[in-house]
Symmetry: C2
Subunit: 461 residues, 2 copies
């Protein structure tokens, strides 16, 4: 009943990449550099108090094409990688499409998502540097869970600041982080200056990713003897670098199968999964070997940075304590509708992904939440994997492209990233099943209010 391609292609342990691929090295124009509020380009020295040294090297290096994966990280990759490249035969049959639909499934580890790929790297480098404490923030909770696993493995203390409304609505996410040994604090909290300031002004604040970042950074800076650092799960160049393991494995597995994607699709919140998935295929496009490959970033209509945002320098956090990145942004003060479920709520976007979009190498589409859940449930029933709502954005776009193939009769090869599972998103699924899910799309006025929070930097832009 099936073709010669198996449902699941597993590479061998030996085929796990030995190096991460740095797409910036092959970009004809590099992403704009990170800057300080005064307009100066951020240096290694500027970032040293916040990030582990090896990670800063990776963050600032636009030229080195490959960074060797440290052996202890690669050892841990072997516990859950290579992840399977899956042929969605059941979905293809149900759609009646001649397209070949593949997805790289990153949900087959306890963290439930691709986030573990970077968490292991970041925790390892912190431990190798002799640091003792790491801090982070989490919203939907996938990143916090992954970093909790990584911190447990490398023997680091982890403080997670969890956006208060998520902390209250997703107790199981908190529990799983605690099970792995992390300390989870609802943000805003009274344990940091940044938190106390917010609480003084807004005693009932339910928190935001921006505030949680500010708290986590402050906590890292106050660890005695300079042995604490802050870690971030997306947006940064280093994270896109680590996530290239997704793309490299996909590339190799498709080579084994004898396919090459015509279209590569990923959901986009901060852009790390998308940037990692597309990396080797984008390289082929940039160097002219595969000029016709299409790349599609899929974002929620409720938080449409790539499709309706501005390409500008903006703060990475709402608290405006972090450096600025040149990226598609809705403004650091933009707050997506609380109706929106799951992740993909970030105001900005990876500078690498932003640059590729700006230069015309990558398309972006914004999709509505109810359509996303409809696609996710269809996929679950056919492929028996319950996708995370984030991943379902990519599923929806893949279905639409496959339906176009049905119309045109073209047997295109479509690859999308299935970033994770939806076990912790049952409240949202239930809301959808009851017909109570809404589709907020920000008005132009709402967007303008967000844009007003984009700073202007003297002598830049």
């Amino acid at each position: 009943m099936t073709g010669t391609t198996p449902y699941r292609t597993y590479l061998s342990e030996q085929q796990i990449p030995t190096a991460w691929y740095n797409l910036r090295a092959d970009m004809p124009e590099k992403p704009e550099p990170m800057r300080l509020p005064n307009g100066a380009v951020a240096t290694h020295t500027d970032l040293t108090p916040v990030f582990a040294d090896a990670l800063i090297d990776q963050e600032l290096d636009d030229d080195t094409a490959y960074f060797e994966i440290p052996e202890p990280v690669r050892e841990m990759y072997k516990v859950y990688r290579p992840s399977p490249l899956c042929r969605a035969y059941n979905l293809e049959r149900a759609l009646g499409t001649p397209a070949h639909i593949y997805y790289k499934f990153e949900g087959n580890n306890t963290s439930g998502s691709h986030k573990l790929n970077s968490a292991l790297a970041q925790a390892y480098y912190a431990a190798a540097q002799g640091l003792t404490n790491i801090t982070t923030e989490t919203g939907a909770g996938q990143w916090g869970t992954a970093l909790a696993e990584a911190a447990a493995h490398y023997g680091l203390d982890l403080d997670v600041f969890m956006v208060k409304c998520s902390y209250e609505q997703k107790p199981f996410r908190r529990n799983i982080m605690e099970t792995f040994g992390a300390t989870v604090t609802p943000s805003p909290s009274t344990t940091t200056e940044a938190g106390r300031k917010i609480l003084a002004a807004h005693p009932d604040s339910s928190g935001s990713l921006g505030t949680a970042i500010s708290e986590a950074v402050e906590r890292a800076l106050h660890v005695p003897e300079n042995r604490g650092r802050y870690q971030l799960g997306s947006v940064l160049n280093q994270v896109v670098l680590h996530q290239s393991v997704i793309g490299l494995e996909s590339y190799e597995a498709l080579r084994v199968i004898g396919e090459y994607p015509d279209i590569v699709i990923g959901c986009a919140g901060g852009g790390s999964n998308l940037g990692g998935l597309i990396a080797p295929f984008m390289r082929d496009k940039l160097c002219g070997e595969r000029p016709d490959t299409r790349f599609i970033a899929v974002e929620p209509a409720s938080c449409p940075s790539l499709t309706r945002g501005r390409y500008a320098y903006d703060f990475a956090d709402t608290g405006q304590t972090c450096p600025l990145c040149k990226m598609y942004t809705l403004g650091n003060g933009f707050i997506p509708s609380s109706d929106h479920a799951g992740g993909l709520r970030y105001h900005g976007m990876s500078p690498i992904v932003s640059k590729l979009k700006h230069d015309g190498y990558l398309e972006a589409v914004a999709v509505r939440q109810t359509d996303v859940f409809e696609a996710g449930e269809k996929f679950a029933k056919l492929e028996t994997i319950l996708p995370a709502p984030e991943s379902s954005h990519a599923i929806l776009a893949a279905i639409r492209e496959a339906e176009k193939c049905r119309e045109t009769g073209e047997a295109k090869t479509i690859l999308f990233g299935l970033t994770g599972t939806g076990y912790f998103d049952m409240v949202a699924y239930d809301k959808y099943n009851r017909g109570e899910m809404s589709d907020h799309v920000p008005s132009d006025e709402e967007l303008e209010a967000g844009f007003a929070t984009i700073p202007s930097i003297p002598g830049v832009q």
Copy 2:
């Protein structure tokens, strides 16, 4: 840093078994047959109203060694099988043991457990027979989730009766079944005669597996035109047969690696995972090829059917509406402590597993809940998989055997079944983490009260 054995061994799609293995065919003494309350051996005709025809054939056949897996079931197995055989290197290192620890991981599918292996088979046979409706009960929810997936795939309507306290305590389990299209009713309900009877006597009843079974069977029998059937997730011979896919894949993967287990360990609730995992290895023992292999069933001290139960004919359900099985039982009226988390709460045990235990081929140990959670958390931090509490019973026993090897210096090969993930058990993990989990072990008086509910059948036992 590792040996030549990879962390994960994946067989190819072609190596998925083409037939289930029926261990009964190689047992020197067969399990006792299912009987009706009047003592007569249950016939195909007796079971026809309740089970799909092909499943009755499998249930009653003690002689056929192999049943071909229907191609549509094998197609669906390809979506998530072969499951990985994993080497627990991190655990071995942490224990400092010379033992080689392997686990067969069945949690890598959305249902989160091995239950899907039988759910797909049972739903397929119902659909192939032209039936339209299936019914079942669920407690912890793994079986209900798996059958919901299977029913969605084969286009069957599914009614799940979910033990009321689980329905209320585990809303996400209910949500995931509903997402796959099942109808979930808290039991006892007013929708069946059996439910109404219980509610009349006990208006505040929080339900039991036994009552839920009675409701599900009644519902199946009332589907118009005889097109409904009841399906069960464990205990039955047919389920052990379907779960042999776990053992067959483990056997083949170990052969590829060049290992053979000295000890095979599985958790035991109804016995289907254990029976399936051990099947081909037990065959080797029974036929004298591998006489020294040890088999260990691990059960909760709070529900100790194999270690403290009686080997006797007993009803499969508390409502005493089902046929009787000869098995280790605590009595159909035994109700395990509500302190006990997760599954493994069944009063009886698979007749196949029971017979093997009775005849001395299989050992059984009962373990305490807090020890189980301690082992589960240790495993999670080392192997990055958060185990289901049921699976953690096997983990604990494997750790204890590996620690013995550390003392003796023997490099034994240990295989255990990691039946599923603990995503839906965070309430229990949280309770453990807070030090609020207790260890109820039934007193002799409590056991006697259960034994008093074991029926005596005229002319039998």
